[in-house]
């Protein structure tokens, strides 16, 4: 039975802030199959192509038949907790300051045995459901959950180390003018965020939904124009030390590619509002978030980018926009590496065309802004890193995995 976490009190300014430390993070190249699985919220094990045996940990040959044909495949998640151990005084700095820490040995129904982190409600001899999670070092670890939902399940201390749950955390949503931004605010409040800061650029321009936004409790509208370096720096000077989750809802979509656009001002706007905006936010908010990665119940935990799936493959109808998104995708990998020492996750949410005015002439299926917000909150609660929302995004992902050249030709047809 988990005691619910309570909203943290204000910090004692006389105490030093606990700095983030990393759990052991060395992994073999083969083990990054688990990293991918954890990033996407899948449970994958290596499976032998010759004899069908599932195996763990990652290896280069099948332990049954010695075939080298081992491929990561989605695997059944169920198992039984054979034994558990509580570490009281671990030698590792990271776990020492989080002790006591429970780990266990799980026998999977599909065969292998896993050493795993344990949810507090997992009992010896009882069934468990497994997942792979990204720990504070960004590497995959096995995590055992009780078979059924238990009270206050998400508040488990060890589980919360693996996730970026918005509960009692303070979130900055960078653009409250867009429908996605407004849905994001509502979803975060519903998920228990203690305060949501909402950035509004050019506050002298009225916008749809403004009255509703202003009336929400625990929502604070702040001036923020991410295209303007000084505006971002000024806001970070005010609230940079209390942003635990940053959701970049920048939205600047314009159709068109290269040859039918006159001049570069539209391209420049796209770069200013997406790529440079991202740079400004990262430089202003990133350092404090990295430093606050172990700062208690409301430590800094996640940075969320909403990216077009066409960051992965250019869609010439929105060709220049696709390119600006590709730049943001590349930058997100840089940010991920730079935030990793703080244990702060960078979550990339890929979407197909949204059901907003800028994709008005694009035929369905389109992604509802609310679906994006829901997916982001879910990704935060599950500790994911790469999320694909909607049919188009999922379709592009699968086709890219199969044949990237075909995707290029078909999107450009």
């Amino acid at each position: 039975m988990i005691e619910p976490i309570v909203r943290p009190r204000r910090k004692n300014p006389l105490l030093r802030t606990r700095l983030p430390t990393s759990p052991p993070h060395a992994r073999s190249r083969a083990s990054h199959g688990f990293t991918r699985a954890a990033a996407e919220g899948r449970f994958m094990l290596q499976r032998c192509g010759a004899c069908g045996t599932f195996c763990y940990p990652a290896r280069d040959a099948c332990p049954e038949c010695l075939s080298a044909d081992l491929v990561f495949a989605d695997a059944p998640r169920r198992g039984t907790l054979l034994s558990e151990t509580t570490l009281h005084i671990p030698a590792d700095v990271h776990f020492r300051e989080r002790a006591p820490w429970r780990i266990g040995l799980v026998a999977m129904e599909c065969g292998p045995r896993l050493v795993t982190h344990l949810h507090a409600d997992c009992e010896e001899g009882r069934p468990v459901v497994m997942s792979f999670q990204l720990d504070k070092s960004g590497q995959a670890v096995a995590f055992a959950h009780p078979e059924r939902e238990t009270p206050n399940m998400a508040d488990d201390r060890q589980w919360r180390e693996m996730t970026a749950d918005p509960k009692f955390r303070r979130v900055l949503v960078t653009n409250g003018r867009s429908i996605v931004g407004q849905e994001m605010v509502a979803a975060l409040k519903a998920a228990g965020a203690s305060i949501v800061f909402v950035g509004i650029a050019e506050p002298w321009k009225p916008f749809r939904g403004e009255d509703v936004l202003r009336a929400l409790e625990g929502v604070e509208i702040v001036p923020l124009d991410i295209g303007d370096e000084k505006s971002v720096a000024d806001l970070a000077a005010d609230i940079g030390g209390k942003v635990d989750i940053l959701v970049n809802t920048a939205e600047h979509v314009r159709s068109g590619g290269l040859l039918d656009r006159q001049g570069t001002s539209v391209v420049r706007d796209e770069i200013d509002q997406s790529y440079l905006g991202f740079v400004h936010l990262a430089q202003a908010f990133g350092p404090a978030m990295r430093m606050r990665g172990a700062d208690g119940v409301n430590s800094a935990v996640a940075w969320v980018n909403i990216l077009s799936v066409y960051a992965l493959a250019n869609w010439p109808v929105f060709g220049a926009y696709s390119a600006s998104q590709a730049a943001c995708l590349s930058l997100s990998h840089c940010l991920r590496a730079e935030l990793r020492p703080g244990g702060v996750k960078v979550v990339n949410v890929f979407t197909g065309p949204l059901d907003v005015e800028w994709f008005q002439t694009v035929p369905p299926p389109k992604v509802a802004p609310r679906a994006v917000a829901t997916a982001i909150v879910s990704a935060l609660k599950r500790g994911l890193e790469d999320v694909f929302v909607g049919d188009v995004a999922e379709d592009i992902r699968q086709r890219l995995a199969a044949n990237p050249k075909a995707v290029e030709r078909e999107l450009g047809a």
């Binding site: 050019e202 506050p203 002298w204 321009k205 001036p223 370096e229 505006s231 001049g263 001002s265 539209v266």
Partner: protein, 261 residues
């Protein structure tokens, strides 16, 4: 004027006998700019990016890179800005005659009307009434429309509604009349444009732009401190940046007015 006269003028500026009034808003990123429908190209907002600040990027010096559109902040409109003035000679900020950059001004106070009606339009009868008190507007003078709009907060200043901006300005007839019958050198306002917020619905649309620039005259907008100017007798110094073929530019607008002593 001989050099004595000029020196006398310089002395008067130094002593305060001629007062210098700054009619310029600070050029900053948060100052409202003209808003066009999103499918049109947009004015780049003012951006100030630090190059160095006595730091590793430049240990002994502070400087910035600037970007902004030609029509941001307190700014000047040249005749080439509008289609009606596109074929005139010397119609851009780099070629317009420098003597036009210094000229007297008539200030018409419509702040009471604008306070009551955001869509207040300056008309010929209003100007004629002003002339009854202050005399006929002389040729090659600026006409500055005082509305006290510059004293508002940014949101009320832009005053954007779902049918566009609601800010005061001139009607079509008065613009044509000021240009053709009074020979003004230009027209200046405190609002974001020389035209009224709803001027797209006038005939012709945007009459200040249409008639001023079509006749090689100039516009000044986003002015402030017009309440410190006398109805007549002020001299405006408005020298736009010498931008190659520029349609306008942010600038420092100064007014010289008779002062104390």
């Amino acid at each position: 004027m001989d050099s004595n006269g000029l020196m006398q003028f310089a002395g008067a500026v130094a002593s305060g006998a001629v007062r210098v009034v700054d009619l310029t808003f600070t050029l900053s990123p948060d100052f409202p700019v003209i808003v066009l429908p999103p499918e049109f190209g947009q004015a780049a907002p003012v951006r100030i990016q630090r190059i160095s600040h006595y730091d590793a990027a430049g240990p002994a010096w502070y400087w910035n890179n600037l970007t902004f559109g030609e029509h941001t902040g307190t700014h000047f409109d040249a005749p080439i800005h509008w289609f009606t003035g596109k074929d005139l000679p010397n119609n851009a900020v780099d070629t317009l005659p420098v003597r036009d950059m210094i000229a007297p001004a008539c200030v018409i106070d419509c702040s009471a009307q604008a306070a009551k009606d955001a869509d207040f339009l300056l008309t010929i009868p209003v100007v004629e009434a002003w002339e009854k008190s202050h005399g006929r507007i002389p040729e090659r003078h600026w006409v500055l429309l005082r509305t006290d709009w510059s004293k508002k907060g940014w949101r009320d200043y832009a005053n954007l509604k779902d049918d566009g901006a609601h800010t005061p300005g001139p009607d079509a007839a008065v613009m044509r009349w000021l240009v053709e019958e009074r020979g003004v050198i230009g027209f200046g306002t405190e609002t974001i444009g020389t035209d009224a917020g709803q001027a797209g619905h006038l005939e012709p649309p945007y009459p200040a732009h249409h008639f001023l620039h079509g006749s090689g005259r100039y516009g000044l907008q986003c002015l402030c401190n017009l309440d410190q100017l006398p109805p007549t007798g002020a001299v405006i110094v408005a020298a736009p940046l010498k931008i190659q073929n520029g349609s306008g530019s942010p600038l420092r607008v100064l007014a010289l007015v008779p002062g104390q002593g």
